[in-house]
């Protein structure tokens, strides 16, 4: 009786295991296709602020769930929402401090023209040469703060993008109070 139980369950387990093994062969997935899709969504400036080596690393971490969707500061709230939708998780926006769009700015009176920022900028948004005051192209700057970190004189800082007539829009109406 006992022997029958042991044998039958062993056989059952072995058969199922073999079937699954076969299935795994035919249904094998090379890598995780979602990683490439996530990487497409990330800014791609490889700034490393998330703590991962570049955007590919961050995409991998996002795909296997080891990184929160709020990891990318340059992406802002919009990216958090997009990633949350993609991965089917709830976005916890409480931790994200949305400072709005920012760009780096050079304080011309302190800049010594050392070209360090110019060399690290991942999007070539800084123009300058040795002993010349550097300038940031606002359109190309992702506010990754790499330049801020290397500047020896603290001439670089992140500033909010000034609101213009073209970018201004009405704020969101406050929730009507439940009467």
């Amino acid at each position: 009786m006992l022997v029958a139980a042991i044998v039958s369950l062993t056989i059952l387990g072995t058969v199922l295991g073999l079937l699954l093994g076969l299935a795994a062969r035919y249904l094998r997935v090379e890598g995780n296709p979602i990683i490439a899709e996530i990487e497409q969504m990330l800014p791609g400036s490889q700034c490393g602020q998330c703590g991962y080596p570049g955007c590919t690393g961050a995409a991998q971490a996002l795909a296997d769930g080891s990184a929160p969707v709020t990891l990318c500061p340059p992406g802002g709230v919009a990216l958090v929402q997009a990633l949350a939708d993609k991965l089917g998780v709830e976005a916890d926006l409480s931790g994200v401090e949305d400072k709005g769009p920012q760009v780096a700015e050079v304080k011309e009176e302190i800049c010594i023209g050392c070209t360090r920022c110019f060399k690290v900028c991942p999007t070539d948004a800084i123009m300058g040469a040795a002993q010349q005051i550097h300038v940031v192209f606002r359109e190309a700057c992702t506010a990754c703060s790499k330049c801020v970190d290397v500047c020896p004189t603290e001439a670089l800082s992140l500033q909010a993008v000034p609101v213009t007539l073209q970018s201004w829009y009405w704020h969101k109406p406050k929730l009507e109070v439940a009467a």
Binding site: G13, L19, L20, N32, I34, A63, G88, E90, L175
Partner: protein, 193 residues
């Protein structure tokens, strides 16, 4: 023919696994935020449930009963269910990585979805024949999918409503589930006449 129809109707509505028997509440609450996820969950569960009832009927009648080892029923059933879920998981991962990502942990958790094991055990308890068991499983799965979609629709609308802070999120979800369950209890009247 009418018997088949009645059986499907009875399992999907009158004896709905989720709202009348209260089985499988975990994915019911967990994957009901978005329609895509709910539909995917419903279809995955339908496959697993139908396949598992068939497999468990065969196990019960061709292995456990002849050998007189019915006390291993739960163990054997869980084994087949787990294998089916593993297979489903691999298939979904291969053919729909997006859905795989959306279902996340709830996909392997179908293994422990009490609706699946529950329906298999109920089949044994009620001494159903093979076709009957298969229909019972399929009907239950249809009922599960239907309720998943209904509830997700409600939750999507709820997410837009101004819910008092104390009720926001899962609490109002449970209240809604309760009301929906009350509504399904009304289907019991179908059987009376």
């Amino acid at each position: 023919m009418s018997e088949i129809f009645l059986l499907l109707l009875g399992t999907a509505l009158v004896n709905n696994v989720v709202l009348v028997k209260f089985l499988g509440l975990c994915p019911f609450m967990g994957v009901s935020r978005k329609m895509d996820g709910a539909l995917g969950m419903g279809m995955a569960t339908t496959f697993v449930l139908t396949f598992a009832t068939a497999a468990s009927w065969m196990l019960e009648h061709w292995l456990l009963q002849p050998l007189g080892i019915q006390y291993l029923r739960i163990l054997a059933f869980i084994l087949t269910i787990a294998a089916t879920v593993q297979f489903t998981e691999m298939a979904i991962r291969k053919f729909s990585p997006g859905l795989y990502q959306v279902l996340g942990i709830y996909l392997p958790l179908i293994t422990t979805n009490c609706a699946v094991l529950g329906v298999a055990l109920l089949n044994v308890q009620e001494k159903n024949g093979f076709l009957h068991s298969l229909l019972y499983g399929f009907g239950s799965a249809l009922g599960f999918t239907l309720v998943m979609l209904l509830f997700t629709g409600l939750r999507v609308r709820l997410s837009l409503a101004q819910v008092p802070a104390a009720f926001a999120g899962a609490p109002i979800g449970f209240v809604v589930a309760g009301l929906l369950s009350l509504a399904f209890m009304g289907f019991a009247g179908l059987a009376g006449h």
